[in-house]
């Protein structure tokens, strides 16, 4: 028995040496590949050794190459990752006082929001500048996390910007964010189908439905409509457009909810009809990706989507390349004008960082919002710029022809309610409208419930 036991002990020893050497191997080759011996140390420090401090690794303030540079950390999501990195590199090359380092987050609205919240709520200064979705500006500003940018971005600059974007970046009379790029939705439709049927482009929802009735079966069309109705922020942006384009609104001038108005019920019923009779069955589970997939397969007459789909919808994997055109969103029976829902990202500055950092951040933001940078960003990212002049630039119009009409669409765009409690309002809209769309609730009942919830929030 004893002999057996020792055999076992030897086996275990061998196994543990193997595992240990495995760990050793890992960190060793790490030092090899990155040429940064600092990292290799860290695996061991987990064992309790306190050799964590490694001055060479700390990126703060002093740069090795010559003079002292101010280091700015700029965090944004992968959605615009590559183009933004290019622009940032250009900024870094253009001057020698400031070095902007990027912290790229996954492209997921929640992930980005939560990451910023976690840092800002704990008074962190590891990030200086953030690319923040416009809907969160009021929330972050009311929590006191955003620096006032009025000093860096004078009216000479903001006057060149689209008025709606500046308005959305203002909270409590202060400019707390710098509009970076905007976003707006349009109707992308199948030009080939309209030509086949010899039809004009409709401007009303009735018109589109009548067209859809004829279009099914033509050139592979199976569905008369395509949009986003999953319980998500995408549903909110879709729904408010039906409401606004039918003469309705969410809040009145005094900020009181007017959700269960007649126009809104009518608008929501149009949306419901599209879900039931025209859109793919799964439309209530679609966010942008899923809806685009079906459209790109050539199965839908139109898709309501963000303007950038113009480029991405006509890539290698698309069957509708060269067959699509864009127009503005239709109006409802009680509406006179079509309104798109504005999205986009603002640049915001962490309020906790010191004045030198803020000053430098101001410089960077000026660069980012200059006409030249905006034009370049638009060309490489197909994100709509905030500087008005860019829309009439010849080079831009050549690259994205529909921008000539698009400027009018963006100018008619509206912003979602600006409130520190927007997240709650949005959550209430998502739940109630989704229930109306899936038929769990009658449209009127859902709007009544929504009205009551938002009233409760407005108290």
């Amino acid at each position: 028995m004893k002999k057996k036991m020792w055999k076992r002990v030897a086996a275990l020893a061998a196994a543990s040496i193997m595992t240990l050497s495995l760990a050793g191997c890992g960190s060793g080759s790490d030092a090899g590949t990155s040429g940064d011996a600092g990292n290799a140390e860290n695996t061991e420090s987990a064992a309790g050794a306190e050799n964590v401090e490694n001055p060479a690794e700390d990126t703060e303030v002093v740069q090795a190459d010559g003079g002292e540079k101010i280091i700015l950390k700029f965090s944004f999501d992968q959605g615009v990752g590559e183009p933004t990195q290019k622009i940032v590199d250009k900024f870094n090359a253009s001057q020698d006082k400031i070095q902007v380092e990027t912290v790229i987050l996954p492209q997921d609205a929640n992930t980005v929001h939560d990451d910023f919240v976690n840092k800002l709520a704990s008074g962190d200064t590891s990030v200086d500048i953030m690319g923040l979705d416009v809907v969160y500006v009021a929330e972050f500003a009311s929590a006191g996390w955003l620096a006032d940018l009025s000093g860096y971005l004078g009216s000479d600059i903001t006057d060149q910007m689209l008025a709606g974007t500046v308005e959305a970046a203002t909270y409590d009379g202060k400019l707390v964010a710098a509009p970076w790029f905007t976003n707006s939705s349009v109707m992308f439709y199948r030009q080939d189908v309209l030509e086949e049927l010899n039809e004009e482009v409709p401007t009303t929802w009735e018109g589109w439905m009548a067209l859809a009735d004829k279009a099914v079966g033509v050139n592979g069309i199976e569905y008369g409509a395509d949009f986003q109705a999953a319980q998500s922020e995408a549903l909110v942006t879709n729904w408010v457009e039906y409401v606004w384009s039918n003469g309705g609104d969410i809040l009145d001038e005094n900020g009181m909810p007017v959700i269960n108005s007649e126009q809104n019920v009518e608008a929501t019923e149009i949306m419901k009809k599209l879900v039931d009779e025209y859109a793919p069955e799964g439309v209530t589970t679609y966010t942008e990706t899923e809806s685009e997939q079906v459209f790109k397969e050539g199965k839908c007459l139109f898709i309501r989507d963000w303007s950038g789909f113009w480029t991405s919808g006509q890539g290698d994997d698309s069957k509708v390349t060269g067959k699509i055109a864009a127009t503005k969103l239709p109006v409802g029976p009680s509406g006179t004008e079509s309104h798109t829902c504005l999205g986009g990202l603002d640049l915001v500055v962490n309020n906790n960082i010191d004045d030198t950092q803020k000053e430098a951040a101001g410089e960077f933001i000026k660069f980012m919002t200059s006409e030249e940078t905006q034009k370049e960003m638009t060309l490489i990212s197909s994100q709509p710029p905030v500087i008005k002049a860019v829309y009439s630039d010849a080079e831009i119009l050549e690259a994205i022809p529909f921008y000539s009409d698009f400027f009018g669409i963006i100018e008619g765009g509206k912003s979602r309610p600006k409130s520190p409690r927007y997240a709650k309002v949005s959550d209430a809209i998502q739940r109630n409208i989704h229930q109306a769309m899936t038929g769990e609730m009658e449209v009127k009942a859902a709007l009544d419930a929504l009205q009551a919830e938002v009233e409760e929030l407005s108290k």
Partner: protein, 278 residues
């Protein structure tokens, strides 16, 4: 056993195993198909089972468009360290809980367990603050330490359970032979529960390998990202590179499978003839 009966039994058994494994592996197989299909067939309607051609471009993308090798290395370092440490710390505590006599065992077990009952979201921001104070953000240790806290309760509970299943009287015999506690633990008890250590180690390893939210929050430097966060960084506006993501998920799954295959040869083989038989 009679021969005739057993052939039928065997056929049935293999059939069952095949169906069972087939269902389990199917989604992964689909993922693999996606990773070698031409781009235009990935979301073809209806689903396409046999790709018209096969290519490896998505695999090239994974390593060329992203520092994926570095992500893999980071994950490997973090998961391995977490596993080794939690097994060592956990086994020692588990041994005490299962085989030594002292007061307050149940309270201890319950206290350890309660740590893994806490919702992760609520712990995120306090742990971030803590790691910042300790200057451990963007360090491997900054992930290993929080990972150990979720791995330890599991390791301790499972190993306690396995230790307590060993027959009584082992230690007495050994201590009469004059073995110290440490020797009893390392040389007798640990080898006895090898199969359990292997299983628990694998579970801890995969948990650490797959963890997302801590890795995202505590590692902000791109060169320190782990695999799940790395993959989450693939999609951009208007582009969901599902082919690349499928390829990446094959790339991260295959080494784990190979690891299992190798380790079970070395460790599991013949373990039933191991320790407990006395």
């Amino acid at each position: 056993m009679q021969k005739k009966k057993s052939i039928w039994k065997e056929v049935l058994f293999y059939l069952f195993v095949c169906v069972f494994v087939g269902i389990i592996v199917l989604p992964f197989f689909w993922q693999f198909l996606t990773s070698v299909k031409p781009l235009s067939e990935i979301s073809a309607i209806p689903a396409k089972w046999i790709p018209s051609s096969v290519h490896g471009q998505f695999y090239v993308n994974v390593f060329e468009k992203h520092p994926f090798a570095k992500y893999l290395l980071n994950s490997l370092i973090v998961a391995t360290t977490t596993t080794v440490l939690s097994i060592l710390i956990g086994a020692s505590a588990a041994y005490a809980l299962a085989r030594l006599r002292f007061k307050g065992k149940k309270i201890m077990l319950m206290a350890i367990l309660s740590i893994s009952m806490f919702p992760t979201i609520a712990t995120l921001s306090p742990i971030y603050l803590l790691l910042k104070q300790l200057k451990l953000l963007n360090k491997y240790a900054g992930l290993v330490i929080p990972y150990i806290t979720f791995a330890l309760p599991l390791a301790i509970w499972l190993l306690t359970n396995f230790f307590s299943q060993l027959p009584k009287g082992f230690e007495e015999a050994a201590s009469i032979d004059g073995c110290s506690r440490a020797r009893i633990f390392f040389q007798i008890m640990l080898p006895l529960i090898k199969p359990a250590i292997f299983s628990v180690g694998l579970i801890v390893f995969i948990n650490a390998w797959n963890e997302y939210i801590y890795a995202l929050t505590f590692m902000t430097d791109d060169m320190m990202r782990t695999v799940p966060v790395g993959i989450a960084l693939f999609p951009s506006n208007y582009e969901l590179p599902w082919g690349d993501m499928a390829a990446a998920s094959v790339v991260v799954t295959v080494p784990l499978i190979i690891l299992v295959l190798i380790f079970q040869r070395k460790i599991i083989a013949g373990l039933t003839t191991g320790g407990v038989k006395e």
